[in-house]
Symmetry: C2
Subunit: 335 residues, 2 copies
């Protein structure tokens, strides 16, 4: 039992709940024998979905909840009042140690607020950070922080660099990950007040591989593995990444459908192009962990399909096996 | 003579100087009879380039300068010490009213510093702003500010919105331009301290068409015409735009060259695809104006070719004809 990992899947959160969430959970237990999932949400709806699959019944559990937090609800109020929601019940299980992790595709703000308020921070961590993985030309990078707490301090950014390095090395398998700070020029004297204050602290920080400033232009080429920035800038990067990508892909597809000649051409390149664009799709890396909490909270896209849910559950498994939180704590006591 | 516009072209600035700068200047005088260009820089090198073309000699002037500011030089020092550089001499001509505008593809920092220190701000303008045009799916948007002065105040952002609106409407011809502020959510209560302070000021600001918060994800789709943000965020947006675009295009091209089948397909779609990607190339809109100065300073890409130089000179023409600076001043006295 000690090798088992218990992951809550918020079956009611996200655009494709409960169908894709349940499917993703079933695929995860089918794929790895050490995974036990707990589906929180409306038991009738969950049972209906589960009935579609054959799976090891002893490793799929349902915890019935009578409430759902919707995407549009104000987060703080939702967490406070909806005690029997699939998200709050799941977070409580992580807090009590009844589960190791929770995966949710629901209300982002509520996941962030609930993660901090219910699961709680690791002692010494000043601010937890949401760290999605973004695709690059040759792989991926971790973008930390993209959470909801803006106006960060330099000491927060240093902890982001440390937590991001541990995650990138031990969950995503990147040896000695290169850490860069988002800046508007490569020189050390460039930047806003926050970056100027953080830069020397990162330079002196032991145990991380700090490579200096990173300009946004160079992020897609994969110039570093851990991209450190405060949450407002991180949000802009994450969302613009998606926006430019989807607009360009939309435009390219439009140019392929222009006339008969281009349609024939499109048929010839379609599989190669699809493969290329798939490589630039972040969802293959699973959801974004909220790092710095006592348990693991993973936020996946609201539009997540089963595959992303499964990947996110596997991510939780690596997180536990690699003892990421213990490593983060070690950083703090080293200081 | 009163309808003539006199534009300095810094012939020594940028990766393609002096060749493409001179060529762009010649094309501009050939194209519009009301344009007079003044080429600043090494007269022998400029004459050698000019000898390649036939053009109306009375509207192309050379002002010899013995120095050049290189791309890597620290800006403040360069502006202070290189009094006989092509950039400083050109800026001095704008200051003295001997020219209406200057176009430079040189050292960005030096253009920003020199513009402010030599040409000077319009009285009442707290901070000039660099406002490049970025391509969107259906046209373009003005991104203001992308300059070097970070950590802006709310009052700066309000002036950016006003100056950007005037420019977008009267130089780029967008009626009643929609103004948005870059934010991490659509709701008014979201944002960092600066955005929260600025939002109500923009709501109450007369004479602009404020549509509220804009998420970075929606910028490429063209959700607003004037995108207001402080310079650090503006820089990140501008550079990530270029980075994601060029990485994706590079990847798409790679997928087309994969094998014989895709190469045949590529040949069939190539002209349609080129046309599409051209629409997503910001350089067709000319350079970025530095708004809020007593004269007009336009910064074009360091890699500018003749076409972008010509477009930038035409942009200066509209700027003068439409009396943009008088309109900006009117905003200030209206308050």
């Amino acid at each position: 039992m000690s090798d088992m990992i218990r992951v809550v899947v918020d079956a009611m959160g996200g655009d494709n709940a409960p169908g894709e969430l349940v499917k993703g959970a079933v695929q995860a237990v089918q794929g790895h024998e050490t995974i036990h999932v707990i589906l929180t949400g409306d038991q009738d709806a969950i049972k209906e979905e589960l009935a579609k699959y054959s799976y090891p019944k002893d490793r799929v559990e349902i915890v019935h909840c009578s409430e759902v937090i919707s995407t549009a609800e104000p987060p703080v109020n939702a967490i406070r009042t909806k005690k029997d929601s699939s998200l709050v019940v799941g977070l409580q299980m992580v807090k009590k140690g009844e589960a190791d992790a929770i995966v949710s595709a629901g209300n982002s703000g509520a996941i962030l607020v609930g993660g901090q308020a219910i699961v709680g921070r690791i002692k010494g961590i000043e601010r937890p950070a949401l760290a999605p993985v973004i695709p690059t030309e040759n792989g991926c990078s971790l973008l930390i922080d993209c959470g909801a707490n803006v106006d960060a301090r330099a000491s927060h950014l240093v902890q982001f660099a440390q937590m991001g390095s541990v995650y990138m090395e031990h969950v995503l398998g990147v040896k000695n990950p290169r850490v860069g700070i988002v800046n508007i020029g490569a020189e050390e004297e460039k930047g806003n007040a926050l970056v100027k204050e953080t830069f020397p602290l990162l330079k002196e920080c032991p145990g991380i591989n700090f490579i200096g400033s990173v300009e946004a232009r160079d992020i897609p080429a994969g110039v570093c593995d851990v991209i450190v920035c405060e949450a407002f800038v991180g949000n802009v990067i994450l969302k613009l990444y998606e926006g430019v990508g989807s607009t360009l892909i939309h435009m390219v597809k439009g140019s392929l459908m222009k006339n008969l000649k281009t349609k024939i051409g499109a048929a010839l390149i379609s599989s190669s192009l699809k493969e290329t664009l798939k490589a630039f799709d972040g969802s293959q890396y699973g959801g974004a962990p909220l790092l710095g909490l006592k348990g693991l909270v993973v936020k996946t896209h609201g539009s997540s399909k089963a595959r992303e849910v499964t990947t996110s559950i596997y991510q939780c498994e690596s997180f536990k096996k690699q003892r990421i939180n213990e490593m983060i704590k070690d950083y703090l006591t080293d200081k």
